[in-house]
């Protein structure tokens, strides 16, 4: 290959390398700011900016959703399967909000409770027909029953008890 072309190839690769390194450094420096939300573990470890508004992300703990009185206020617990974080929200929740569903909430801490101004549902990467979801849920209940050594009437599992709990 002629030297002029060779030089141009090296120049371009060098520019690309420079741009890559610069971007990597910038992204590493901004690591905390790029995180869209903090997990309950982050809060426990003091990594979350609890003195101001931030986003909390995690799963809605099973059996934790509780309506307060007649209003729109809902209390629930957000978990990352390591730590629990009680939360409270007044308003209309997204359709996908349910136990075991991933959520991202915007708000701030008040006396150990995360008071949310906005709750968004996070969808995971699983796409499947309802029959498949039901079959998986049934298989799981059966497995659990077998593991417990009793094959009595299985508790009918809701479709929400499925891989969407994966986070």
């Amino acid at each position: 290959m002629n030297p002029a072309r060779q030089r141009r190839i090296w120049m371009i690769l060098l520019i690309l390398l420079g741009a890559g390194v610069a971007t990597a450094l910038a992204l590493t420096a901004l690591q905390q700011n790029i995180q869209h939300f903090f997990s309950p573990s982050d809060i426990a470890q003091g990594k979350a900016p609890v003195e101001r508004t931030f986003r909390l992300g995690g799963l809605v703990e099973e059996g934790s959703i509780e309506r307060v009185g007649e209003g729109l206020t809902v209390r629930f617990v957000v978990t990352d399967r390591f730590r629990l974080q009680p939360a409270e929200f007044t308003g209309i929740l997204p359709d996908l909000f349910r136990e075991g569903q991933s959520v991202v909430a915007v708000g701030r801490m008040r006396d150990g409770v995360f008071v949310a101004d906005e709750v968004l549902a996070k969808h995971d990467e699983t796409y499947m027909p309802a029959e498949v979801a039901d079959a998986i849920a049934r298989a799981r209940v059966k497995q659990a029953a077998e593991a417990a050594g009793n094959d009595g009437p299985a508790v009918p599992a809701a479709a929400s008890d499925d891989p969407s709990t994966r986070y």
Partner: protein, 252 residues
Amino acid sequence: MNALTLWFHRMGSPPTFYAFAERWRPWFLWSGLLLTVVALAWGLFFTPADYLQGDSYRIIYIHVPSAWMGQFVFAVMAVSGFVALVWRIKLAEIVSLASAPIGATFTAIALATGSLWGRPTWGTYWVWDARLTSTLILLFLYFGVIGLSRAIEDRRKAARAAALLAIVGLVNIPIIQYSVYWWNTLHQPSSVRLFRGETTIDPSMLWPLLLMAVATKLYYAWSLLGRAQAMVLEQESGKDWVRQLATADRNA
């Protein structure tokens, strides 16, 4: 010289390229249209509804292929830009520039459809998470390439400047791809995995998606060749073969 290199050298000649594009464009167009119709009909009417999202998940058949194309076209733009910069091949400059509006359109479609899906699913049209933001940056990089190529008077200088921006912008592609793994994002990770991990979309829903991915590439080939033809004619406007083409056209 092997057959492939020979083919590339022949393609570098404008009249040969023009004839090649003229011959193959209808094939790309009709096969692309046919595949689109089949894939969309399959995806919209013959796949089961999702267990959680119901029917709204069907936007995946537009959203995901468009997002893939946004990144694929950018890569094509950068690679042909690289060839243009190193070997100074005019046709590579043309392919690079002609790709930009197509890729920008696909990226815009991905952003718009994602936003429409986000409203019922997440509860919002837009969030500034890493995946959405890096995709928006991709759109702006396309705008940058288009703008730069129009801002410089000298056509070849413009093409080279735009090519350099496309190459530097390539850094953004892995960021888009891996944003959902590197950071906490509202956007979910990929459902379709080619290399590592398992595909988490049910096979009954997957096939129309893959067909759409092929269909969008055929459309791109058709659109790219058409744009490139127009640019080749403009560039070669004084040459004999173009004049002959024009006279033949008038007589026809």
